[in-house]
Symmetry: C2
Subunit: 219 residues, 2 copies
DNA sequence: CGATAGTCTCGTACGGTGTACGCCTCATCG
DNA sequence: CGATGAGGCGTACACCGTACGAGACTATCG
């Protein structure tokens, strides 16, 4: 009887012609695809390798650990080529932050990865750009860090909220239903249809306006 | 040779006299203790059971899955007996939100659990209270949801940021060091010592003021 | 040419995880 | 007494991340 090598399954994502079969870039982008398709729980080193047509342990030549893969995946989703610096700094800030939020909402798993300290180059690039723009707008250096973090907080909070609650209409309707059944315990938020009638994009935009007003008015 | 039952180890957390050995309450509070002591990765169904002096699978009589345990642990950390309604609604709001943030910072693992839709009774209670207070402050019903979510976003964002970046001085110094070595790529945030010189509590408070000003000024 | 030293791939194995399943004990009730 | 059901738990399974070391292939040097 002939023992034949188990044939390797064809990779779901073929390497570009002439490119190395495995590389950090290919690993990261395959990870993003897998996360997009199957959410956080779907990313497994084994499945990631399979998708690349490689052995599981081969990944570890390019990558320290699964944690690294996640950090890189998160950062890779945040690349940004902002608009050229315009005269209207406020427009620039709004654009930067709305794009930021949109990028994360495009990849719903990214919100869950936020609560880890991971400052990749793209994240830092965005912070740097935000910082420069605010400086240009006249925010004095002493207030700069406050301004940056406040805006960052707004983006992160809104992203997580939207990602957690804004997903499925069916689910939200069910939640609101449950809320109604709880009856008299939560009358106010039940009356305002907090879970159903929320305009997430508008809320983000209005909160942003309030913050920008406050941050720039008092010099 | 006598085969004797392996003696069960004494529980780290003894049941109250006359209370059932295992109960949802005891499970949840043991989970919180374990999370406090060993962070998210330290919570294991096996270790949780061991801590309670019970068999692992016994937990599943009271609880559907580990997910449930986490949801309950998160919510249990958020109970709140607010101050009696005072005349100063703004004070009430600030107190509620600062306590909210403080409660989560007291249990650093809680931030990582946020990005899951889990509206436990305590969470809902806080939302309800916030909603009532804002109503009392004169926020019209049409703006209520925007106001609630904006403030919620601020709390969540600030909590996650603080929990991620405000932890270890040593770590932050290292990060800022790395940032300096990256040299010319991020000059602005390097100059402002974004990672080191940040006043997290002050930032939270100031951002909150801006939001409250904006949310209540224009009716 | 052969030897040597990287660079990269990967099979095996280990200790851990969450939990499905079924058996056990025990209090209660008829 | 037997039946019932609540509650506890041991075993087993599939799956996870990854340590380890053996190989393949290439480049470099004597």
């Amino acid at each position: 009887m002939v023992i034949r090598r188990r044939s390797k399954p064809a990779p779901a994502v073929a390497p570009e012609r002439g490119e190395p079969a495995l590389s950090l870039q290919r690993i990261v982008s395959a990870a993003v695809e897998l996360l997009d398709a199957e959410a956080l729980g779907g990313l497994t080193m084994r499945r990631l390798a399979e998708r690349l047509g490689a052995g599981t342990m081969s990944l570890y030549w390019h990558v320290d650990s699964k944690e690294t893969v996640l950090d890189l995946a998160l950062d890779s989703v945040l690349d940004y080529a902002g608009p050229p610096e315009s005269q209207d700094w406020r427009n620039d800030v709004v654009h930067l932050l709305e794009d930021w939020r949109a990028a994360m909402l495009r990849h719903p798993w990214s919100a869950a990865l936020l609560p880890r300290r991971a400052l990749g180059p793209n994240m830092l690039g965005r912070l740097e750009l935000l910082s420069r723009t605010l400086s240009r707008a006249g925010v004095p250096p002493a207030d700069l860090n406050v301004a940056i973090w406040t805006l960052w907080n707004h983006v992160m909070g809104a992203t997580i909220t939207r990602g957690s609650f804004g997903l499925s209409d069916r689910e939200m309707a069910a939640a609101q239903q449950r809320l109604s059944q709880l009856g008299e315990r939560y009358p106010t938020i039940e009356r305002s249809q907090l879970l159903l009638d929320s305009d997430w994009d508008g809320t983000f935009r209005r909160g942003l306006d309030f913050l920008l007003n406050g941050l720039t008015r008092n010099r």
